[in-house]
């Protein structure tokens, strides 16, 4: 028993050793496996990460499982194939080795390509054609068809009727197309004939010109056009699918099929089918038709996405109003289409419609809305006079709100807080709208009061839009500006040469100098009037010059004029222009300096300190 116990112990000890070694081996192997696994995971992760990065722009959108939108590198690959075909043709035609093909069609855009693989396995790629001269009633697609190493290139041109073109501009809806469709063969090495087609779109018959007819085995040398291949804008809608069939499964050339109904059936993936799809699923037991008479192609039809978004989000009342005011509609659509900022353009367009509906006006060139409260007022009259001279400061400031900027402007007449003569507000939303409200009291006041208020508020709008575009201010929910600047502590901002700085840096330097001098207060928007933001003049000086040059002094009220002459002498126009240019700036340090410079000339200083009341008696008829 003892020996057994010993053996047992010995065995047990031996077994333990083996077991431990065995376990160690397993652990080691497991470790190695884990390490290997980790290595594989990390490598795979890195590879996939790289791949994702490399092909990030080759995104495919998939509609209904059979339609894809190719963009980025995927689109480039297909475009290259098309380019090679067209270039080989071009080389054949003119013997040159030109990298681009300049033919009559226009530009072939491969920013987005629609790919459809039809029931018979034929791959159809649709490219947008951009014509050199835009035509509201016509658009074209280039179709690249590939199957079994055979390639066909066709141009399809869609000609809308006048009535449909008008309707289409309103809603960008192609479902009820009316017009002609023209098929133009460009290239094929496919021995199969094209079918002769009668075309119907939706429920509306349409004419099809040149829709096949057989003898087009090789259309080389019969190209009506071509084009350069360029990446382009992204202004096309989700694709519709066009199904082309001659309704005959025979392999006839189609010449005898004129009495057989043939169809183009529009099958927009986002709106559901509009017509019966005649394609029956391919029966695997049926031998494949080598020359099938049916195919499906995508359509890229012109639609400005921003305009479409605008129309989709417009309330019914505004939409109905817009549809019955064609001129306004065209102006708004053109504005949106050409605007660089879609969100801002949509906001402005909505405000514009509201203004039009209420009797206001819109200057689309300068992106200015004239609120109905402003229209035909005396203030409006002064505004119209001030903006006539394109060399003047007023005109230049208005021009900054044109289509090249994100900002737009609204003029109103109404109540202002605390009886202020005028007020300018910004926007905390994406609308980027500046609203100038001129007080009703000023509307009832004199021309000089209206002039100085309009100019002063326009300077605010101009200055604030510059600060906003420089990222130096934001607006609170009330539209009041909030300045946010960084000032270096080791810089003496008072000695900086402003002329060497960008506009943004110049503003920062001016405001930091005020801070350094301990004079930066909530009056900073007015303090900036006295700063040399222009090459030579301050805003205040520009305002003085503007009023002196543009105000109608000759028709001024005789009593007002005489009193001014008594106080200021022959230089009265200049002194009044200077005096009124300081209105609104009375709380600035510079105003105190200005007014105290007259302290020895009692009549002048009394006049100038009371100038708001003095000019209320000036001429108030604006003709």
């Amino acid at each position: 028993m003892i020996s057994l116990v010993h053996i047992s112990k010995t065995f047990s000890s031996f077994g333990k050793t083996i077991f431990i070694n065995f376990i160690n081996q397993i652990i080691m192997k497991t470790k190695t496996k884990i390490q290997k696994l980790l290595f594989v995971i990390v490598t795979a992760f890195l590879l996939f990460s790289c791949e994702k990065e490399l092909y990030e722009d080759s995104i495919k959108k998939d509609y209904n499982g059979k339609t894809e939108i190719l963009i980025g590198k995927e689109a480039e690959k297909v475009a290259l194939r098309l380019k090679n075909i067209l270039e080989s043709r071009s080389t054949l035609d003119n013997g040159s080795l030109a990298r681009t093909i300049t033919l009559d069609i226009g530009t072939i855009n491969y920013d987005e390509i629609v790919k459809i693989i039809d029931t018979y396995g034929k791959e159809n790629y649709t490219f947008e054609i951009r014509y050199p001269i835009e035509d509201d009633k016509k658009f074209g697609n280039l179709i690249l068809q590939e199957k079994d190493n055979y390639t066909t290139v066709k141009l399809i041109e869609y000609y809308m009727t006048d009535a449909f073109a008008q309707e289409y501009k309103l809603n960008y809806d192609l479902k009820q197309f009316q017009g002609n469709i023209k098929f133009i063969p460009i290239y094929t090495d496919n021995p199969c004939p094209d079918p002769e087609l009668i075309v119907q779109i939706g429920n509306v018959p349409a004419n099809c010109i040149g829709c096949g007819g057989g003898s087009n085995n090789n259309n080389n040398g019969n190209i009506p056009g071509g084009g350069t291949i360029n990446p382009g804008g992204n202004n096309y809608s989700e694709p519709l699918i066009i199904t082309i069939t001659d309704g005959d499964t025979s392999q006839d050339s189609g010449e005898d099929n004129t009495d057989v109904p043939n169809w183009i059936i529009w099958n927009p993936p986002t709106f559901g089918k509009l017509s019966i799809d005649p394609i029956t699923p391919t029966d695997p037991t049926t031998p494949e038709d080598p020359c099938p008479q049916t195919t499906e192609i995508g359509i890229l039809y012109p639609v400005d996405k921003c305009s479409k978004t605008f129309l989709e989000h417009l309330d019914n009342t505004s939409r109905k109003w817009l549809y019955t005011h064609n001129e306004v509609h065209n102006d708004i659509m053109n504005y949106i289409k050409n605007s660089p900022n879609c969100d801002g353009a949509n906001e402005f367009a909505k405000d514009a419609i509201d203004s039009f509906r209420n009797g206001g006006e819109v200057d689309f060139e300068n992106k200015i809305i004239y609120d109905p409260t402003f229209m035909y007022t005396k203030t409006d009259c002064i505004h119209k006079k001030l903006k006539t001279n394109s060399n003047d400061f007023y005109y230049q400031m208005l021009s900054t709100f044109d289509n090249n900027t994100n900002y737009n402007l609204t003029f109103k007449v109404g109540n202002t807080p605390n009886g202020d003569w005028g007020i300018t507000k910004g926007s905390s939303t994406t609308s980027n709208n500046y609203i100038i409200t001129i007080s009703q009291n000023i509307e009832n006041g004199s021309n000089l009061m209206r002039t100085v208020t309009l100019c002063h508020e326009l300077i605010h709008a101009y200055m604030l839009s510059t600060l906003e575009s420089s990222g130096l201010i934001t607006f609170d929910i009330n539209g009041d500006p909030i300045l946010n600047i960084n000032c270096a502590t080791g810089t003496n901002y008072n000695t900086i040469n402003l002329n060497t700085l960008s506009i943004s840096d110049r503003f920062v330097a001016l405001l930091c100098a005020l801070n350094q001098n301990g004079t930066l207060t909530q009056q900073w928007t007015h303090d900036l009037f006295n700063s040399a933001n222009f090459d030579v003049n301050t805003y205040r000086q520009e305002l003085e010059n503007l009023i002196y040059n543009e105000y109608d002094w000759n028709n001024e009220d005789i009593n007002f004029k005489n009193q001014a002459i008594i106080v200021f002498g022959s230089n009265w126009k200049h002194e009044i222009a200077k005096g009124v240019s300081w209105i609104g700036l009375e709380n600035t340090q510079e105003y105190t300096t200005f007014i105290n410079s007259y302290s020895t000339d009692i009549p002048k200083i009394l006049y100038l300190t009371d100038i708001r009341n003095k000019i209320s008696t000036a001429n108030n008829n604006c003709l």
Binding site: I482, N484, A488, L520, W524
Partner: protein
């Protein structure tokens, strides 16, 4: 009976008269006038209290730029135009300053507390119920203050 009625009428008259009679309030302003026009027959001074000052500048946020230098980040709202102006006009001695004994001053406010602790609307509403006098530090003696009756002008913005 008749005497009693006469007495009541007299009391009502006196009471109504006393309600219309505004009391004086004295504003102590250390700052020099922002505007001063003076000759032999004319003395015009303008004093100013700017309520925007106290709420104008938020606490400065300190940061360090890429070069390791100190940067002050300033966030400032624009003006709400909460400014009141006091205009003293003495033309041909029609509004000569008063000498007021310190003991007789009951209603008064000091510039610093107005700017830092009193709300603009509250201040304006209160002022409208008083005759307002400005006491400017540079003219005072030990027992008497020189007080100038002023008109209140609220700043109208643009």
């Amino acid at each position: 009976m008749k005497n009693t009625i006469n007495l009541i009428c007299l009391l009502i008259f006196i009471n109504s008269f006393s309600q219309e009679q505004k009391k004086n309030i004295y504003i102590f302003i250390n700052q020099k006038p922002t505007l001063q026009i003076k000759n032999d027959t004319l003395n015009i001074q303008q004093f100013e209290i700017n309520f925007d000052v106290k709420s104008s500048i938020n606490p400065i946020h300190l940061t360090i730029d890429k070069s390791g230098n100190l940067i002050k980040n300033l966030t400032i709202k624009s003006s709400s135009n909460e400014i009141v102006k006091f205009k003293y006009e003495n033309i041909k001695s029609n509004n000569i300053p008063l000498l007021i004994n310190k003991k007789n001053i009951f209603n008064f406010l000091i510039y610093d507390e107005i700017v830092s602790q009193i709300k603009f609307k509250n201040f304006m509403n209160i002022l409208n119920t008083f005759n307002v006098y400005i006491i400017n530090a540079e003219y005072n003696s030990e027992e008497y203050f020189m007080a100038k009756k002023v008109n209140i002008e609220k700043y109208i913005g643009l």
